[in-house]
Amino acid sequence: MTKQYLIDYTLQLADNALILAQRNSEWCGHGPVLEQDIAISNISLDLIGQARNFYQYAATLIGGNATEDSLAYLRDAIDFKNNLISEILNGDWAQTVLRQFLVSTYQFYLYDALQKSPDQQLAAIAEKALKEVTYHVRWSSEWVIRLGDGTSESKQRIEKALEEIWPYTGELFIPVQHETDAVTAGIGVDPKMIEENWKQKVSTVFSEATLTLPPQNIWMHTGGKNGIHTEYLGYILAEMQFMQRAYPSAEW
């Protein structure tokens, strides 16, 4: 019998990737210039690929009729375990690239550690995803620097974005029960273990971007990993799941 924490832990990895992919895909056709529109859409595609691998694995753990599609399309908001930072609004380009940088950097250290997990499937997915996330970190950090150390307008935009997003970063490093259980079992990555690396990388990029690192001890939003979401997730799911809800089991 598969341990519930392993299923939840795998779903959390999948949901984080899927929901951010869905958010980023809203830029498709609306990017500031064609090349950057393509870049953010490519990042979405990578994230969907990672989500698919995690969902496929979760489906084998759950067994029965579970499939990657049923997990993505037929669960409700309360079942989703993604961090809130993945579901908040895109805002302007500054907010989108800043969020991408903060999440990609988190994923970078997370996957780097997870590829050494004794759970071979999680390790294999992480090893593969890490190569893609490496490009995401590079691309998004360049944008943060470009905007932060850019014009007064771009600086003001990214500072506003930082104020908006920062209170959602704390959740990444506060373990919930299934994470703690996965860590205790030696399979999962302790978020506390990657926090220091994350802070280091963020502060290096921020200093190049002439941005001030906000205090970490402020009040932070939490709940996503336990299924308590902002209202935004419901809207995302309504759009993403519409087809399967309206036409159950439709395939093409």
């Binding site: 090349e35 950057q36 393509i38 870049a39 490519n42 990042i43 595609l45 990578d46 994230l47 969907i48 690929g49 990672q50 698919r52 691998n53 950097t105 970078f108 071979q120 499937q121 390790a123 294999a124 997915i125 090893e127 593969k128 995803a129 190569k131 893609e132 996330v133 490496t134 490009y135 970190v137 590079r138 691309w139 950090s141 360049e142 620097i145 990388k201 990029v205 190049e208």
Partner: protein, 190 residues
């Protein structure tokens, strides 16, 4: 089935495997059609369980055919071409009478451009896409790195510049040649 030491090229260990490889060599990557699935290095292993061996059991009176097992690995996790390649491999084999084909996906070791064959790299260049370099320092997350010198596939100049790390497909970056002014795709290192 044997794997070439340096590249991802696989070498048939029997005549039966050789026949299957010849068929797979005709299956193109749908996004870069000059490359076959073998050039790309996504086929990691094949094995043929020949008719008459105990594993290929006749069911419902149908004549047993060789069972082909293909192990593959995706290039990028989200690459939509992978599903197409699987279907096309299945069709190509079916046309040659192989009705019993099993696919198995492996994720580790993760696909790398180092597995692309030399012949594949030359075909890419002739097609106008700069082939991947051997793995180098650029595969790190650091911002604003010194760009690697990518050769223009049209005029061979190294005087080129990166336009975007993300190109028309997940596997490519967009470059422009400063000398002949042509934009071109670079099959980026992975």
């Amino acid at each position: 089935m044997v794997q070439g030491k340096k590249s991802g090229q696989i070498i048939a260990a029997s005549d039966a495997e050789k026949k299957v490889l010849e068929i797979l060599a005709t299956v193109p990557d749908p996004e870069v059609p000059v490359l076959s699935v073998l050039d790309l290095g996504v086929v990691r292993n094949i094995s043929v369980l020949e008719t008459g061996s105990e594993k290929t059991i006749t069911k419902d009176g149908e004549p047993a055919t060789d069972e082909i097992r293909i192990t593959y690995t995706p290039t990028y996790t989200g690459c939509p071409a992978m599903d197409v390649m699987k279907t096309q491999m299945r069709i190509a084999l079916l046309e040659k009478g192989y009705t019993n084909v099993q696919f198995e996906q492996v994720l580790s070791p993760a696909w790398t451009t180092d597995w692309m064959t030399e012949a594949g790299k030359q075909k890419l260049k002739a097609y106008g896409i700069a082939p991947p370099q051997y793995k180098q320092a650029v595969c790190t997350p650091d911002a604003f790195q010194q760009e690697e010198a990518i050769q223009c596939p049209r005029c061979n100049s190294y005087h080129t510049k990166l336009v975007s790390q993300f190109g028309s497909t997940a596997c490519k970056a967009l470059y422009q040649c400063v000398d002949c002014r042509e934009p071109f795709d670079y099959f980026k290192c992975h």
